[in-house]
Symmetry: C3
Subunit: 149 residues, 3 copies
Amino acid sequence: MAVLIRNEVFSCFVFYGVLLVMKMYVIAIVTGQVRLRKKAFANPEDALRHGGLQYHREDPYVERCRRAHINDMENILPFLFLGAIYSMTGPSVAAARIHFMVFFMARMLHTIAYLFALQAPTRSLAYIVGQIPCVSMALQILMAVAAYA
Amino acid sequence: MAVLIRNEVFSCFVFYGVLLVMKMYVIAIVTGQVRLRKKAFANPEDALRHGGLQYHREDPYVERCRRAHINDMENILPFLFLGAIYSMTGPSVAAARIHFMVFFMARMLHTIAYLFALQAPTRSLAYIVGQIPCVSMALQILMAVAAYA
Amino acid sequence: MAVLIRNEVFSCFVFYGVLLVMKMYVIAIVTGQVRLRKKAFANPEDALRHGGLQYHREDPYVERCRRAHINDMENILPFLFLGAIYSMTGPSVAAARIHFMVFFMARMLHTIAYLFALQAPTRSLAYIVGQIPCVSMALQILMAVAAYA
């Protein structure tokens, strides 16, 4: 089974994939810290523990963190599927590395642009750039399996 | 590694899985277009770029697109896991193809029913029909690994 | 291909992973039942079918179910990736089983704490305990692929 992990393309995919998962975990931690600092809790039981039911409320920056997290789920989670399958289609190491690295950098920029509310259209451009390697991988996978499906 | 992709069941799964990921990407594009057309932006920086802070607002159709997208994440992403593992349990090509195709068609109908607000219970029925192959695969996987786990 | 499923570590991961996916399906069913019982529908077409547009409204307990479901997506879906890759890095069966079982139990407790609104910080503790095996797997994977990426 370790044969997969020793494949250079697959291990490159895994490397960036795991970093992106950890980046998502960081957003979750940031969200929790902002909730505590701004005293804005989604659940009454959390508000009660931190001062009272008046803190069961929404906060614009908490909602921003939530949107960044959900956008990550919409994009990074499908990447984890596409990248794994694409690695099995026998791409060159160089081509694969570019796909994974562009996606990784675009999503890092996307998160930074979201959390720091950078001027539009920074975040949208990061999103679009990140989609390019994903659509490219999706099309290459479809071509690879078209013969068998 | 390419042995996986040459397996008929797995490549059938990959084919429908990738199409469904692309369908999710289409919902994201539709959401963005509706935001632009209706001038309803989730972030103040986006509203500023498109006319002013008064467009930092919610829109019912944008929210509908969001719900369709999140429902897809709740159902298609677990399918990408179940389908991959199920492919490894040695099902017949015919049985596997039916599982994947029913899920695929049900989720296509689900999206259409959501975005066009088709009369209830069209969307709910599509959701339920899509769950049947998923639960079937989950149970077959549990039976296959029960001996080893 | 069946070689994966016969691997003791991988089949242990698959066992808990599939149970957690089914747990997520249960939250979806609970949400639907609560919507029907409380008459609180996210879509006007659903409200129309169940008594009228006045039931197109939010309900605090429905929103609680939604948050539990989304939190599961944020945590269980990345686990399905990390656990699969971690299984390929050659961990001992005992160590792997502890990782998977701790995550499984923590997420079961997290759902119970969420749906029954248990006193804080029960739910947060369950979340944190569930993150420990995930971060541990992420770091072990990074160490395993560092040589090849």
